[in-house]
């Protein structure tokens, strides 16, 4: 690659650009990690979690949807952005009921691992303690809305990959919630099948295939580290 190839700078490192790149996509290709929760290469972006917020020439933008611009200076790792990410994670934790020790997603949960990487040791804000009824009506998939972070990955996967539109977003403000398309509004009456991508794309423990909980032993889970491997 020659010096004239288009690139931008991420925390002082040169990142090569391809046409149509977002900041996140270009960084990922270069092996540089920008934290995120709601993004997936498989589906269109929702830009909802804001964990990937970076400063592009000083302006806060979501790296997952912001086109990378040649010559731009992008800042991701700084004291203030580290605190910003920590606060966003803490907001998600107090918004729902995220009790890792009792959750079968533990060790495979993107929210959990991002919180760990951000050095989160407390909730910082008061808990909102929602009471959202669990929907266990589906024979093969459990919906635990208290863990939903409204990332929309299931909404998009069901629409864009499974061609089913099983999910939608409802309500507004703090009462925003995941809706299920079925006559009763329950998952068991929907068109979702356990083979759907939407049944597996959840980054947290809100949508879980049944009967496989805790199947992977501690030490072999996706985000296990040397500490947990033993």
């Amino acid at each position: 690659m020659s010096a004239v190839d288009p690139s931008f700078e991420l925390d002082g490192q040169r990142v090569p650009l391809q046409p149509g790149d977002t900041i996140l996509a270009a960084a990922a290709r270069a092996g540089l990690d920008i934290p995120y929760l709601c993004w997936s290469a498989e589906v269109s972006a929702s830009a909802s979690c804001r964990l990937c917020t970076v400063l592009a020439d000083g302006r806060p933008v979501a790296a997952c949807v912001t086109p990378a611009v040649a010559g731009q200076k992008v800042e991701c790792r700084s004291a203030s952005l580290d605190v910003q990410r920590l606060r966003l994670l803490q907001m998600l934790f107090v918004e729902g009921n995220h009790f890792c020790p009792g959750c079968e997603k533990s060790g495979n949960c993107v929210l959990q691992v991002q919180a760990e990487r951000a050095g989160m040791t407390d909730l910082h804000f008061e808990t909102l303690n929602p009471e959202r009824p669990v929907d266990a009506s589906h024979p093969d998939v459990l919906f635990e809305p208290n863990r939903c972070i409204l990332c929309q990955l299931c909404v998009r996967a069901s629409d864009e990959i499974d061609d089913k539109q099983v999910f939608a977003i409802g309500g507004h403000g703090i009462a925003t919630r995941l809706l299920i398309d079925s006559p009763s509004g329950r998952l068991g009456d929907s068109a979702l099948s356990v083979g759907d991508r939407a049944a597996h794309i959840c980054p947290v423990g809100a949508l879980l295939p049944k009967r496989v909980g805790f199947a992977v032993p501690i030490g072999q889970r996706r985000f296990d580290t040397e500490d947990t491997r033993g």
Partner: protein
């Protein structure tokens, strides 16, 4: 007493069918279909949503998501008559809460509830844009009742209890005045000898663009983007079809200038839209009229019909061969965020009003992916003048960076509320002087998302380079508690958050709860310096990257009042150390009851003084 059975039983699908047919079962019209259906059925039961979804080829979840997004759609039963008290801070300053309580007491209902017979329900809504003639309320999301006082509320209760139809209520209740206190060129209107629209449009599109460029006109909706640059970008975007949208979703609390422009200068607004359409090459025009201004719809439709007859709209509009342009009016349904242009376009397409990911910007891909210009009502009104009198004339008014005039919606603690139009660059002090507010301690310029200006800064000018304004000018005198003003605005933003992005969805709620703690209106604990620190944290997070401007500006009132009126916060955070929301000792009361213990050892003793 006649009780309408439709309100207590579930409405049938036939009502929706008539509406669906009128809209040719077009899923893009979903918001309009829900609105018109609900006007007949009072609320939208799930069975009706299922029916509408099937008729439009949409999923039930999608329709439910749209119905649950807009504050004016009811998915649980409401009364045959729905009353919504405008809940701007200015309504409250005029006593709206006491009047709401009075009406509820007379009717025997609580706010947010429907009476047992399904006759009426009473609740609050965001600002209805009648701050200069409030307190106001909305009836059935259609009519407005202004100038509420104890006597009017009593008479209103009489009508409701007697089952008097809304059409038979006294006309005086529905009177809405323009309230123009100081007119400059926009509020004076076009001169009698102004050139006709066909004469204006006979010039080339480029000549029209050049005129707007020369005027230096910047958008009046708040962001202040140069109008000509927006138009040029739309004109340059590829694609055969283009749209021009008039943003009449005047939701910023304390703003009511667009209501008056639409009521009394609609032709100027439509002239401006038509000039824009000619300049950018658009075929389709929309007015996005906020649901609160539903009462303006008949006369606006009349003006459009007259213009069609006059040949100013339709095929070969204004006599220009090949210029086909018409305007449709789309009603909102109570969602402040739809004032954001991409959220507005989503709503026009019948969806939840969630701001889009940008880029692409609306000028590149807006309504149905077509390049779309969205401008404020006042901006189009200005264009109507600029197209006739020239860009140089407009540029000679105001300041170098802020050309032309600006209309201010003045309300709150002043002798003469109403509309005041001044050249940009006019000082806050001058406006305060002319509206009669010698005791002002602060002015909220541009609404809650604008700036709270303390008396020490009244010498500043309203202009893009100093204090920009989207048109609200709410005056607070020395009797007002600016902490409570900020807390009220915090509730507004939490209520209006679309819920998409984490910082706005969660952050606005956390701000409300923390301010409630300071006000001792929630939880058991007294506030301390710890809580003030948390408020600063939340302010930082919301100013550091939200999906749209709503979240980014949601903490402006908090930030401004903490800076300028810190004493109001300090006096509410005097606890020596952090106190939790829950009363730990009270939590043990059931255990004490079970064990029948009342001794000191059965109580928690904390060091925290209460």
């Amino acid at each position: 007493m006649v009780v309408n059975a439709a309100a207590v039983s579930e409405p049938t699908a036939e009502t929706a069918d008539a509406v669906l047919d009128r809209w040719q079962r077009d899923p893009l019209a979903l918001v309009q279909i829900l609105r018109e259906t609900q006007a007949a059925t009072y609320w939208l039961p799930r069975s009706l949503l299922v029916h509408i979804a099937a008729a439009l080829g949409l999923t039930v979840a999608h329709v439910e998501g749209v119905a649950g997004f807009y504050r004016f759609f009811h998915t649980s039963p409401v009364g045959c008559v729905r009353l919504l008290f405008s809940d701007n801070i200015t309504d409250r300053m005029l006593g709206s809460e006491a009047l709401l309580a009075q009406l509820c007491a007379r009717l025997g209902v609580a706010p947010g509830e429907v009476d047992a017979q399904g006759r009426f329900s009473v609740d609050r809504c965001s600002c209805t844009g009648l701050c200069d003639q409030g307190p106001a309320l909305l009836v059935n999301h259609h009519q407005v009742v202004t100038r509420l006082d104890g006597a009017r509320v009593d008479a209103l209760a009489d009508c409701l209890l007697a089952g008097t139809p809304v059409e038979e209520w006294p006309d005086e209740w529905f009177r809405v005045v323009d309230g123009v206190q100081r007119a400059d060129l926009l509020l004076t209107g076009l001169a009698a000898d102004a050139s006709s629209l066909p004469a204006v449009l006979a010039r080339s599109p480029q000549a029209l663009l050049d005129e707007v460029a020369q005027s230096g006109l910047r958008g009046r909706g708040g962001a202040g983007f140069p109008t000509e640059r927006k138009w040029q970008a739309c004109r340059d975007a590829p694609g055969p079809l283009r749209c021009v949208v008039c943003n009449a979703d005047e939701g910023e609390p304390g703003t009511f200038k667009d209501r008056v422009l639409l009521a009394s200068h609609a032709d100027s607004v439509f002239d401006g839209m038509t000039v824009a359409a000619r300049a950018v090459g658009a075929q389709q025009g929309f007015v996005y009229l906020r649901g609160e201004y539903r009462f303006l719809l008949p006369q606006l439709e009349q003006v459009l019909a007259r213009r069609r007859v006059a040949g100013l709209l339709g095929r070969n509009a204004a006599g220009i061969a090949g210029f086909d342009f018409d305007i449709a009016i789309h009603l909102g349904a109570g969602a402040y965020v739809c004032g954001e242009e991409s959220a507005l376009i989503e709503s026009l397409e019948g969806k939840r009003g969630t701001p889009r990911i940008r880029p692409p910007f609306p000028v590149q891909a807006g309504y149905l992916g077509r390049p779309t210009v969205v401008n404020n009502v006042e901006t189009f009104c200005a264009v109507a003048h600029i197209a006739r009198r020239g860009g140089a004339w407009w540029a000679g008014i105001g300041t170098a960076q802020s050309t032309g005039t600006k209309i201010h919606s003045v309300s709150g603690d002043c002798a003469r509320p109403g509309l005041y139009e001044y050249p940009l660059g006019t000082t806050i002090a001058q406006i305060l002087d002319e509206c009669g507010a010698p005791q002002a301690q602060a002015v909220q310029v541009g609404g809650p998302s604008g700036a709270c200006i303390p008396a020490s800064e009244f010498g500043r000018a309203i202009a893009f380079e100093d204090v920009p304004s989207a048109g609200a000018f709410m005056v607070f005198d020395r009797s007002r508690d600016l902490f409570e003003v900020a807390r009220h605005f915090a509730r507004f933003f939490a209520h209006e958050s679309c819920g998409l992005c984490t910082p706005c969805r969660v952050g606005t709620e956390l701000v409300v709860r923390r301010l409630d703690k300071l006000a001792h209106a929630r939880g058991a604990g007294h506030a301390s310096a710890f809580d003030i620190e948390r408020l600063h944290d939340l302010d930082t997070v919301l100013h550091s990257g939200t999906h749209c401007g709503l979240g980014a500006s949601a903490c402006n009132p908090l930030r401004d009042t903490m800076r300028h009126f810190g004493a109001a916060y300090a006096q509410r955070s005097t606890a020596a150390q952090f106190q939790p929301d829950i009363d730990l000792d009270a939590e043990l009361s059931s255990a004490r009851r079970v064990t029948r213990r009342t001794d000191a050892g059965a109580h928690l003793h904390t060091d925290t003084p209460t």
